[in-house]
Amino acid sequence: MVNEQEIWQLLEGVFDPEIPVLSVVDLGVIRKIEVGEDKVNITITPTYSGCPAMQIIEQQIIEKLKESNIQHAEVELVLSPAWTTDWITEKGKKALLEFGIAPPENEPDKSVLFAEPVKVGCPQCGSKNTRLVSQFGSTACKAHYQCKECLEPFDYFKCLK
């Protein structure tokens, strides 16, 4: 039987279907791995309540483990504690930026009434002269921005605390 560390390594090879450069480990959705006598239990948590990627992630984890001859794996979805963008690893944030998605800024909670939108750096040219187009982007976890310098539209992985 494999040990826990090896499972973590395997999961580095399972990617978010909507952000294919971000592994589920770097996304921070893997909460616990328990290696039993003849079974592996993995606990994951959703990014957003209705995130349609979670079921696919679940299946992909099971398939990944099967590739390494781990036949008995179970994935359990828990809601508490609720996922936060603070759980995205530094490596994950770097991968997002290189992919053209601005990673979550380390900001206080901006989802409050009347708060100014957060200043986000353009992943293409690095300028901070950008504007929020819409709080809701191509997926539940992203907002839609545009750079006022290079004019490129881009996604911002919005901060969830």
């Binding site: 809601l79 809701f136 997926t139």
Partner: protein, 262 residues
């Protein structure tokens, strides 16, 4: 024709809890269904995406809540069966969420009045003694705060916008205000769950809601209607005429192809 097994036949803690969760779950489910009708019809692309994103969050919340309701009920029903196979009288959502989309101003007004209620509701429910409800509330709150920010900004922009946008969104407020008192409908179920530390204090939520709507309407230059005739019935399963049509659409696949899966 009504399936009586879904109604609280007794005031046992389990049936009270089931009823309480179903009310919340149905609010999310029905509003999510309504909003998703905008898919492909939004006034601009960004809003089309925003409304369907919010619908997705709501359906996700409904899934979590109705899964838990199914577990509490313990009769072997699945969340899907509860969501798609009940009759109208067994849905316990408030009347506000089932109202027609109308124009974009009506949809945003409906959303704002609801989000302003849901935010303090989940803020309070996070501290529920029921672990699963507390977890669902903490998760949903993060999303709901974004919804409230979105809808309140639109209310201000439309209310304090052009003559046309102001008239339309004031009209929406005049039309929807009569469904707001029901958000705070407080019966034996609510009282029992508040006493046991599971439910929230709706009187407190109402005060917080009132503060938010007054603050936003002031900025939006909108006037709260003085005619305060209020409707209720949703929490008892008595719905407006729009509900049947909504359910016919929502339940179509499961009724036509029972047990169908993706």
């Amino acid at each position: 024709m009504s399936n009586q097994s879904n109604s609280p036949m007794s005031n046992s803690p389990t049936s009270n809890l089931f009823e309480y969760i179903v009310r919340m779950g149905d609010d999310s489910l029905i509003l999510g269904q309504r909003l998703s009708e905008w898919c492909g019809h939004g006034p601009i692309l960004e809003e089309d995406i925003a409304m369907t994103n919010i619908a997705l969050d709501l359906i996700g919340q409904a899934t979590n809540l109705l899964e838990y309701a199914a577990k509490v009920e313990g009769k072997g029903r699945t969340a899907d069966e509860i969501a798609f196979l009940r009759f109208e009288r067994d849905y316990k959502n408030c009347l506000l969420v089932e109202q027609l989309n109308g124009d974009f101003g009506v949809t945003m007004m409906r959303q704002f009045l609801f989000d302003a209620f849901r935010t303090p509701f989940f803020e309070s429910l996070q501290f529920s003694k029921d672990e699963q409800l507390s977890a669902i509330a903490a998760k949903s709150l993060k999303e709901t705060k974004y919804h409230l920010k979105h809808s309140s900004e639109w209310i201000i922009r439309l209310g304090d916008g052009t003559v046309e946008s102001h008239e339309r969104v004031q009209g929406a407020l005049d039309k929807l205000w009569r469904y707001t008192k029901e958000l705070f409908y407080n019966d034996a179920v609510d009282v029992a769950l508040l006493e046991s530390g599971v439910g929230v204090d709706l009187n407190k939520i109402q005060l917080q809601w009132k503060l938010t709507v007054e603050q936003v309407f002031e900025r939006a230059k909108l006037t709260i209607p003085t005619n305060n005739w209020q409707f209720e019935g949703g929490r008892k399963g008595l719905h407006s005429e729009h509900m049947g049509f909504l359910l016919a659409e929502m339940q179509y696949m499961q009724r036509a192809y029972p047990g169908m899966e993706w």
